[in-house]
């Protein structure tokens, strides 16, 4: 009885929706890779099982304990990012991976979560005084990992930190004029960032403005992805029957561009359902935040909602060609252990908040 009571606030909808998304994702991943190598699907399932252990661990740990370890995670993130900077292996022009024998670990994926947790811890500890002092401190707190990630370069993850920062400060209760002040400062400094961007990132931004600048180079991925999604039409070309997908016109279609496989083969009908599932997921996260009285729980729930929601929105927009290609995965669907693990931990934290309110 006690056990039942303990889990009575468990959010089954959240888990069911996440499972549905993951299963659909496995189908997309299969379609995108089975002609080359079936290992991708097997490894993704293995990561899912590993992720489930983390998920179960999370729901059984009080989220406050996790948040209180925020600075530890933050340090871990900084160290691993620094390691990447020194020893990381290069793939596709970016230095993002640490080779750890049996798997290639992508610290910047974890950094999204860890830095968010650290920020939550900082804001929870200073919930009494919401002045400019702590806002400025939080800003510099975020700046160090932001620059390290940007240098990898991983524009997507770095930019992820921006909405996380503002959302958490907003939920925390920062005055709007303070937030606007920070935004104004950021906008004023943004031209400087052009010099921080690598050439390929500048190119990607240029290509986003006009993909036809370089239809066979940097623009190719976006153009072909756009064609794939557009040609899906209402009902799609059918699972395993997308010509853009199966005939190799799509690049990176098992990772960041997997949504183009979904759009092409399942059409608008499938894609809009997938989008709706993500919306339900994000909405449930905000509802968990709404039902919680603990300011730490509110911050944590909103943080997880933003991490998941922003990745979904940015990823889908970029595969459709409505946003620059920044290299963010589609949570639960894109192939990749680090991303899947982080998303499942985030879901576990959400359930923990629901259970330990």
């Amino acid at each position: 009885m006690l056990k039942v009571h303990k889990y009575k606030d468990f959010d089954w909808v959240l888990v069911a929706v996440a499972a549905a998304i993951f299963i659909a994702g496995l189908l997309f991943l299969f379609s995108a890779t089975y002609l080359r190598n079936i290992d991708f699907v097997i490894r993704q399932v293995a990561w899912f099982l590993a992720g489930s252990l983390f998920f179960i661990a999370m729901i059984n740990i009080n989220y406050r304990k996790i948040v209180s370890l925020g600075y530890v995670f933050y340090s871990l993130a900084l160290v691993s990012l620094f390691f990447v900077f020194l020893f990381g292996s290069k793939r596709m022009g970016a230095q993002r991976w640490l080779e750890l024998g049996f798997f290639n670990f992508q610290p910047s994926e974890f950094a999204k979560l860890f830095i968010t947790l650290a920020l939550i811890q900082y804001l929870t500890e200073h919930k009494a005084e919401k002045g400019m002092r702590h806002i400025t401190a939080a800003f510099f707190f975020m700046l160090a990992p932001f620059i390290l990630i940007l240098l990898q370069p991983d524009l997507g993850t770095a930019l992820m930190l921006v909405p996380v920062f503002f959302t958490l400060l907003y939920v925390w209760g920062a005055k709007l004029k303070h937030l606007l002040f920070i935004i104004a400062g950021g906008v004023a400094l943004s031209p400087l960032s052009w010099f921080l961007l690598k050439d390929y990132q500048k190119e990607r931004l240029m290509v986003f403005m006009n993909p036809n600048i370089d239809p066979l180079g940097a623009g190719y991925t976006v153009i072909q992805s756009r064609i794939a999604i557009g040609s899906g039409g209402v009902a799609g070309k059918g699972w395993l029957s997308g010509t853009q997908n199966q005939l190799n016109f799509l690049a990176e279609r098992h990772t960041d561009f997997i949504f183009s496989v979904a759009g092409e083969e399942w059409g608008f009908a499938g894609a809009i359902v997938l989008l709706a599932l993500y919306y339900v997921l994000v909405r449930r996260a905000f509802e968990i935040a709404g039902k919680t009285d603990d300011p730490c729980g509110v911050l944590a729930a909103c943080g997880m909602a933003v991490i998941i929601g922003i990745q979904v929105l940015v990823n889908i927009s970029m595969t459709m060609g409505f946003m620059p290609v920044v290299g963010l995965p589609l949570p639960l669907v894109s192939y990749g252990g680090s991303s899947l693990l982080v998303t499942m931990i985030a879901l576990g934290i959400l359930e923990s908040i629901a259970l330990h309110r």
Binding site: G233, L247, F249, I272, L275, Y278, V298, C302, I316
Partner: protein, 564 residues
Amino acid sequence: MRIKILRLFFTILFVIVGICLYYLQIIRGPFYDNLSSRNSIRLLNIAAPRGDIYDRAGKLIVTSALSFGVFIVPQEAEDIDAEMEKLAAILGVSKSLLERNYKRNRTASFAPCELIRGISKKAAILIEESRFEMPGILVKEVSLRDYRYEGAFSHVTGYIGEIGPFELELLKPYGYSIKDLIGKDGIERYCDKILRGKNGGMQIQVDNRGRQVKVMSYKKPKSGRDIYLTLDAGLQKKVYDLFDGRKGAAVFMDPGNGEVLCLVSSPSYDPGGSISDAIRSDESPLLNRAVMGAYPPGSVFKIVTAMAALETKKIRPDTGFVCDGKFKIGRDELNCWNRDGHGYVDLKKAIAWSCNVYFCHAGLMAGAEKISEYAGLFGLGKKTGIELFGESSGLVPSKEWKRIEKKEIWYPGDTANFSIGQGALLTTPLQITRMIAAIANSGTLVQPHILKRVGDAETAGFKTENTRITREYADAVKLGMRMVTEDIDGTGTRAYSEIVSISAKTSTAQVRHGVPPHGWFAGFAPSGNPKICFVVFLENGGSGGDVPAEIARDALEYWFKKNE
């Protein structure tokens, strides 16, 4: 409160992304669907075998022979450069030739691209044996147009070549496409749509590197239909050989129905060989002198003058004139070719001896208008409508013509010149053949044609016209024509034959000073019951009674011996 605002903010973002999705997939869906098809679907043309051309008896004249061509499939080749080098070494051709053809013919990575064609079987086997060294190289049987008689039929059959930009523009609605081979002249061109059949094709799905993934659909090519000509291959070859490269033309035709049995223009060219060489030649071998060339007919035309004078009752067959070697018109004088004069001549002698003085009298009596009218009645001055390109209509002068075109008055001297086939008058050898046929069959102007059968269907619908000439007068002219070869003093005695009685008219048409005259020999045989009419014409070939008469006799003897 702030959470609710945040939630609303995210809701709006999701709705915006949903709208983008709707825009991309539903509104722009058809556009992107088209782009995606273009990405992955390619069309590959499969040429239909071209129809054959046969003579009237079913003897093969033109066919599509199989030959070997060497192709390269770019996607199969490991090293295109190295493979072409090996191939060049085996074939003993320069590598740059292969490279040039590769550049010109390459379409897609999956499509075999022709490097060279017409290689020997031995070379084909050699290449096949070393295929493992050249995985991209492919030997395929290709269809080559085979003209069995080389030059003999060129002006009838024409030749084929790659479609030109102008033709493509014109023929695109009829399913012609770039790089198609089409008939460029003669029957190859006239009957191109029948001969070529319908090309088939394959829809091929390719991947992002243009490699063939699978065949999506296949349309079998439909072979072209065969054409049967009215020509007799034996006679054609015989006459062509008799010309022996001399400049000129010959037409042999059935006077009963207009079926052309032989149509030779010389010099000729090999339609399977280099056409550009033929174009550059000074001899203008591409010119079909039998239908494109218009020449002064000279004395052959006296037949028309005679018919005009007879039909208008100005003379009768037994009307006589005295020829003293010259004919005076005003202050001008026109000589008979026999300066001593022919003495008293009637119609048949005038024809047999080709007396100019007689026909000047007859012509002036009939008048220029009547001669023009009868020339027209016999089909002169207009195209015969034969199935060949570039036919000339020739020129029949008249008083109006001279006033309008030359801005000069028509003098009686013009009538005299006109009467003996000189002056502005121009005719094609085919027109003269048709005119002779109308005399031979006593009044029917037939439609000369060279198409006998298309596949299994006989051609039909050839118009004939009744000239309404009087049989008695035609017989009188025929009698004179018979004497041309059979009278001891006839102008065409060289054409006298023991095998068949030949009726004819010689002609030695003056061109201009210092240039040999055109020689004509036109007639029919056998004299009593004409089965074949003919014209042998030699451009600047001298007297019609000499070489042309001999060519005609040899050809007719061949023909009648063969059809005994």
